[in-house]
Amino acid sequence: MDKKKTMNLLTVILLILSIIMIASGAYTGKIKETERKGNALCLECIGLG
């Protein structure tokens, strides 16, 4: 397989993998977890923790 095809294949695999990961995260409630973390003031993030 030439380099171009390998690179294209890698891109497609990565896109599919990322979509599967996002969907699995959504299914297992990880979006809610991210939202909860984002809504709470992260003192470390602003240098106060």
């Binding site: 990322s18 990880k30 939202e35 984002g38 003031l41 992260c42 993030c45 602003i46 106060l48």
Partner: protein, 282 residues
């Protein structure tokens, strides 16, 4: 459509995109002066660029901060949503995110317009620092601390991230309770922020080039990302116009998909033979 824009107005459109993105990431501007965070379902969405979720105006979550929060608390399991989001942005855009969709990048670029003597050296060895930041502060420290103490913290955000410090300055400025909590770490972060902003006047995007771990992640995917820069060797005359104009000090003829390329498109606009172009094709 990006691919039919004339190259001459590419830079102007990039600037407009950067300003729009900054506003989309931070639409709750009035919160800056109230000393409190915006809260809502939108914080469940990871934005592509570096934008602290503890900034009072922020609508979404920072992918790097969310990643560190997760790595510091792996007992709850791997947050595949955050890792998947970073992978998706990386696979689609690579460091196009840095050049077009990052508010802190925009701030540094605006500061670079200040007329002071510019450093035009590539400083390639300093570029490795961002990978050290990624491995040590973003990945290793949160995991090690969580193993030691049961709960880790986002080490890069805590000690370095200047983007979060900007939000912190507004919060401490308008919220007395938070102001009283500011200690030595906060002073260190303010010093880092001031240092980076001062350097930005002389060096093009010093934070993106030498420190940003998110840029380091996206850079690793530059070669395989959907949006790339294509160099046509058949029409190129090796005039060197592209490398003279590259703000990241790369040579687009040989390094058009280098991990440090932020896809600003300046080389595309400058090429007299139109040998460089944005493309999705190989």
């Amino acid at each position: 459509m990006l691919f039919v824009w004339s190259v001459s107005d590419l830079d102007k459109r990039r600037k407009i995109t950067q300003f729009i993105t900054t506003l989309l990431y931070n639409p709750f501007i009035t919160n800056l002066f109230k000393g409190r965070l915006h809260t809502g379902a939108s914080k469940g969405v990871c934005v592509p660029g570096l934008n602290c979720y503890s900034c009072p105006a922020a609508a979404g979550s920072c992918p790097l901060g969310s990643l560190q929060q997760n790595l510091g608390n792996l007992k709850k399991g791997v947050n595949t949503y955050v890792i998947g989001s970073i992978l998706l942005f990386a696979a689609l855009f690579g460091r196009f995110v840095c050049g077009w969709l990052c508010p802190f990048g925009l701030l540094q670029e605006l500061l670079y317009k200040i007329p002071v003597p510019k450093c035009v050296k590539r400083l390639k060895w300093l570029g490795w620092l961002k990978y050290v930041m990624l491995v040590v502060l973003v990945i290793a420290l949160p995991i090690v601390i969580s193993i030691e103490k049961g709960m880790g913290y986002p080490a890069f955000c805590k000690y370095i991230c200047p983007q979060g410090t900007i939000g912190g300055l507004f919060l401490t400025g308008f919220n007395e309770t938070l102001r009283n909590q500011a200690g030595l770490t906060f002073l260190l972060k303010v010093a880092i922020l001031i240092g980076i902003l001062l350097c930005s006047a002389a060096i093009f995007r010093p934070f993106c080039r030498f420190i940003c771990p998110l840029g380091a992640i996206y850079g690793l995917f530059n070669k395989i990302a959907l949006i790339r820069i294509k160099h046509d060797g058949g029409t190129c005359t090796n005039c060197g116009a592209c490398s003279k104009v590259c703000p990241m000090r790369l040579n687009p003829v040989t390094e058009c998909n280098h991990a440090d390329c932020i896809r600003c498109g300046k080389c595309i606009g400058k090429c007299p033979e139109k040998s460089l172009s944005f493309t999705c094709k190989r």
